[in-house]
């Protein structure tokens, strides 16, 4: 909320995009976490497939709806931002299309898991699909460099220089941290209910209600 308030009310107007750029404080954190949630799921999928960690599969199933939700917010905010900036809400360019594929992957993972009555088999197949889909993450990241796209190249970089003024960068950074903690809280709530529902026949589950 601090990052968004700062960005919406106190950050200066952009010289080119005017005030429509203020969508960045929700759009950029959303797409960052859309990819990070998937990366987290891929690590869990590997743990489930290699070491048969049951909890890892539970975490994938809990994280997938959050990933779908935050990817939808990223796509939606980007589309609305595109109306005043590009003159169109949608363009089939590499960055937008690969992010749409990520959203479809999240939905596919949830649908696949939901379509099996044997939950152990569903966990295994879901993990395999997550591993297959991880190839899309570097494509999303590098799409603006590999192809000529309507979407602008990355303005901020973890390792390199940034082209954003500090008066806009600081609220953006706070927005990323804030949304991160919000999603972690949501993830804890979501995984708690899913773990309890899967382990409801165990004695320890009763101690946690």
């Amino acid at each position: 909320m601090l990052g968004w308030t700062w960005g919406l009310l106190f950050a200066p107007q952009d010289a080119v995009q005017g005030n429509s750029y203020r969508i960045i404080f929700l759009h950029v954190p959303s797409v960052i976490f859309a990819e990070l949630v998937y990366f987290f799921m891929a690590v869990c999928a590997l743990m489930h497939l290699v070491w048969r960690v049951k909890l890892a599969a539970y975490l994938i199933k809990s994280a997938a709806p959050i990933g779908a939700m935050i990817t939808f917010i990223g796509l939606f905010s980007g589309s609305i931002w595109g109306i005043p900036t590009w003159g169109t809400w949608w363009q089939w360019d590499a960055r937008i299309t690969s992010t749409l594929i990520l959203f479809i992957m999240y939905l596919g993972i949830l649908t696949l898991h939901g379509s099996f009555s044997n939950l152990e088999k569903a966990d295994r197949l879901m993990s395999i699909l997550v591993i297959i889909g991880v190839v899309n993450i570097p494509i999303i990241k590098k799409s603006v460099d590999w192809w000529s796209t309507l979407h602008q190249p990355a303005s901020i970089s973890v390792s390199g220089s940034t082209s954003i003024d500090p008066s806009m960068l600081y609220p953006l950074f706070i927005s990323v941290i804030g949304l991160g903690f919000t999603l972690i809280s949501l993830g804890i709530l979501s995984s708690r209910s899913y773990i309890l529902s899967r382990e409801k026949n165990k004695k320890w589950a009763l101690k946690h209600v």
Binding site: N19, M69, L206
Partner: protein, 58 residues
């Protein structure tokens, strides 16, 4: 850096003609996140209720 970027409340709402885009994105985005929290909390309560009922009957 900490000066308000707008002169009055109407300017904040209008944002130079971009207010409809900016505010609709934040309203819908924050609503989706808030609803996700409500759903997650509701699910925990439902599961807890199921576990309590199951143990009470057995």
């Amino acid at each position: 850096m900490f000066n308000l970027a707008f002169k009055n409340f109407n300017e904040i709402l209008d944002m130079g003609g971009h207010g409809i885009y900016v505010w609709s994105v934040y309203f819908i985005g924050i609503s989706i996140i808030f609803i996700s929290f409500l759903i997650a909390k509701k699910r925990i309560k439902e599961v807890q209720k199921k576990i309590i009922l199951k143990n009470a009957s057995s």
